[in-house]
């Protein structure tokens, strides 16, 4: 038993979570004071908190290493995802200023929950032990459940929260059962120790590890909305308030994938031969179901939900590659995906109007005429989602399939790429609507862009283009940190 269980270095490595928690609590405490002054104060404060946490996670990286006796591991991988989820947090708050104001729903709780959720995701990214994964996952999830149902009087939001909650808890139980089996067979739940245990001389029967891996795969599969565990995503994404949907599709998903990658590439890497067919099938199924179902949707949020299932499939392709390049590709892709998706949802939320009435494809008609900037930004995001070069989405996809081909996954690559060609159709439909039709009711009523929204559109667009034109920097970082995961 360690005698000195906390040191200064431990605390530094835990800095982002500390900052976010303190600021979240502060927001709740300051509620009565701030509420009277300006409703924007909450937003300003939480953006400030996230920026400080961003600095915190970078600072933590300068002190990289395990913390709290291996419960946390701060390495490049953890830092990458910490930064990513914090940025997603910022990009969620920017468009929600106006959104919440429009729905008359500005409270400190929204922002506090968001900060807590981000803290949970940071914890997931940095956890080196399954108990921390579990608790981080729950912190992130429970606050997300509440956020999804945040607009209490909205029937769709209720339903969204309920389904998210039920299926999320169900998935957690599966995940936990997998943890139990791992604990029972290896006597430890520390990821690095598990790896040693199952690759050592007296390793337990691989089939048990495979079953445990399968159970955890079910649990995490639900969280990342990979097929065949994707059925909750459309309802949840459609019903949740749009900024929350943006957040759900980028933040918790990225964090869940971080956990996914870390568990499967660290602990279960030695038995990779057993689980990869499972991931292979899930990847293909996710891409196919996601893309083909998205073709049929008329509600844009629902369409984006299916699209997010498909994109989870692409990331799973990277996981199937079971290589450092694959891990790096998944990291890069998640970053690119976060930008383009959050940006796209910012536009959707902007257009939807009071009570989120306008969510249909037809409502996008003629947006380019009424608000060229908004339309142009959405075009960038859509082209990136399609995978057109010079956008982050393209480069991510390229890198994923490169990793897959290096691991000789020729069929998965071909089918995945054909899938992305199918996907082009439904993304293009939005562009068709915006540019090639007469302005609709929704487009005519669309408000001028507020400052926050402007930032919420332009920043992800810059990010998307940056990742597409100069991917080198992020890619190098991802490549460097992916080797350390093992």
């Amino acid at each position: 038993m360690p005698a000195n269980f906390t040191s200064a270095a431990d605390l530094i490595r835990f800095l982002p979570e500390i900052i976010l928690t303190i600021m979240g609590t502060l927001l709740m405490v300051l509620d009565p004071i701030l509420n009277r002054r300006s409703s924007y104060a909450f937003g300003h404060l939480s953006i400030f908190a996230l920026i400080v946490a961003l600095g915190g996670s970078v600072y933590a990286y300068t002190q990289a290493g395990p913390a709290f006796g291996g419960l946390l591991v701060v390495d490049g991988f953890a830092t990458f995802f910490r930064v990513l989820v914090i940025v997603v947090g910022i990009l969620t708050i920017l468009p929600s200023y106006r959104f919440l104001q429009r729905q008359d729903a500005e409270t400190s709780e929204f922002h506090a929950l968001l900060l807590f959720s981000v803290a949970g995701q940071c914890l997931m990214a940095a956890s080196g032990d399954l108990i921390m994964v579990f608790i981080g996952l729950e912190i992130s999830s429970i606050s997300s459940y509440v956020l999804a149902g945040y607009l209490r009087d909205d029937k769709r939001a209720n339903e969204s929260a309920l389904k998210y909650f039920l299926l999320g808890s169900f998935a957690t139980a599966f995940f936990l059962y997998g943890v139990a089996l791992i604990y029972g067979t290896t006597g430890t739940i520390n990821l690095a120790a598990v790896r040693t245990a199952i690759s050592g001389q007296n390793a337990p029967e691989p089939v048990i590890i495979a079953v445990a891996a399968a159970l955890m795969f079910v649990g995490l599969g639900f969280k990342v909305s990979a097929a065949p565990f994707q059925m909750w995503a459309p309802d949840v994404y459609q019903g949740a308030p749009t900024p929350v949907t943006a957040f759900l599709s980028a933040g918790p998903k990225a964090a869940a994938f971080a956990v996914f990658l870390r568990i499967f590439m660290t602990a279960f890497d030695p038995v990779g031969g057993d689980w990869w067919p499972l991931v292979w099938g899930s990847a293909l199924l996710s891409m196919t179901i996601g893309n083909f179902a998205a073709l049929l949707q008329s509600n844009v949020k629902r369409m984006m939900a299916y699209s997010s299932i498909a994109h989870a499939g692409y990331v799973l392709v990277a996981l199937t590659a079971r290589s450092d390049v694959g891990t790096a590709a998944a990291m890069f892709y998640l970053a690119a995906y976060a930008f383009m998706n959050v940006g796209a949802f910012a536009v959707i939320g902007h257009l939807s109007g009071k009570g989120e009435r306008y969510q249909n494809l037809d409502d996008f008609a003629g947006l380019a005429e009424k608000q060229p900037l908004t339309a142009a930004m959405l075009t960038i995001f859509m082209l990136s989602l399609i995978g057109v070069p010079l956008t982050g989405g393209f480069f991510g996809k390229f890198y994923i399939f490169k990793a897959a081909l290096e691991s000789h996954l020729v069929w998965l690559t071909v089918l995945g790429l054909l899938n992305s060609a199918v996907a082009a159709y439904y993304y293009l439909r939005i562009l068709v609507m915006m540019y090639m039709h007469e302005p609709s009711d929704a487009a005519s009523k669309v408000e001028p862009l507020s400052l926050g929204l402007r930032a919420a559109l332009i920043l992800p667009a810059i990010g998307t283009l940056f990742l597409g034109i100069f991917p080198g920097w992020v890619l190098d970082f991802a490549g460097k940190s992916s080797t350390l995961v093992r």
Binding site: M1, D104, F110, A119, I135, I142, Y145, Y150, V211
Partner: protein, 164 residues
């Protein structure tokens, strides 16, 4: 003696669990669930988990289930009316369920021949758990407090009268 004790409570747990699933009225399900939890608490005792047995009774049976019963009563939820199953659950869930059961029972039976004797493990007292909790597991313990905070906050957000 140990075997008999185990069998009695295992059977109670299984019967209660089946009852949870088949009862149409939620209140009956809830009471059955309390039965499962109670018998599990006894089984925890046989495994030397004194603290957990107590926590099971206090936290689960005592607090969580009371909450459930409270909500059921509050909503005045009646028995389930609709009996038609959604086809997806039957077609997808049925095989999945059977597979899960067979798989788990098979692999569990094929290993772990160690036997449990009552009192064979004495590391689960409140003292032991407490020591671990405040040394090795201090971080998760502290972090769990955020979770509780979120739960409170969430309940407030969702149940408050109106937005302001």
């Amino acid at each position: 003696m140990d075997v008999i004790l185990f069998l009695i409570f295992a059977i109670i747990a299984v019967v209660c669990a089946i009852n949870v699933v088949v009862q149409t009225h939620p209140i009956s399900s809830a009471i059955s669930l309390v039965g499962v939890m109670g018998s599990l608490a006894i089984l925890y005792l046989t495994l030397g988990a004194e603290f957990l047995a107590a926590a099971q009774v206090i936290v689960y049976a005592g607090a969580v289930m009371v909450l459930f019963v409270f909500v059921i009563m509050l909503l005045n939820a009646g028995a389930e009316t609709k009996k038609g199953q959604s086809s997806m659950a039957l077609f997808l869930g049925g095989p999945l369920l059977v597979a899960l059961l067979i798989l788990l029972v098979w692999f569990v039976q094929s290993r772990y021949s160690e036997t449990v004797h009552f009192g064979g493990f004495r590391g689960g007292s409140a003292q032991d758990v407490g020591r671990a909790l405040f040394t090795t597991y201090l971080l998760p313990f502290e972090v769990t407090s955020i979770l509780i905070l979120i739960a409170i906050l969430g309940a407030i957000v969702l149940a408050r009268k109106e937005m302001d």
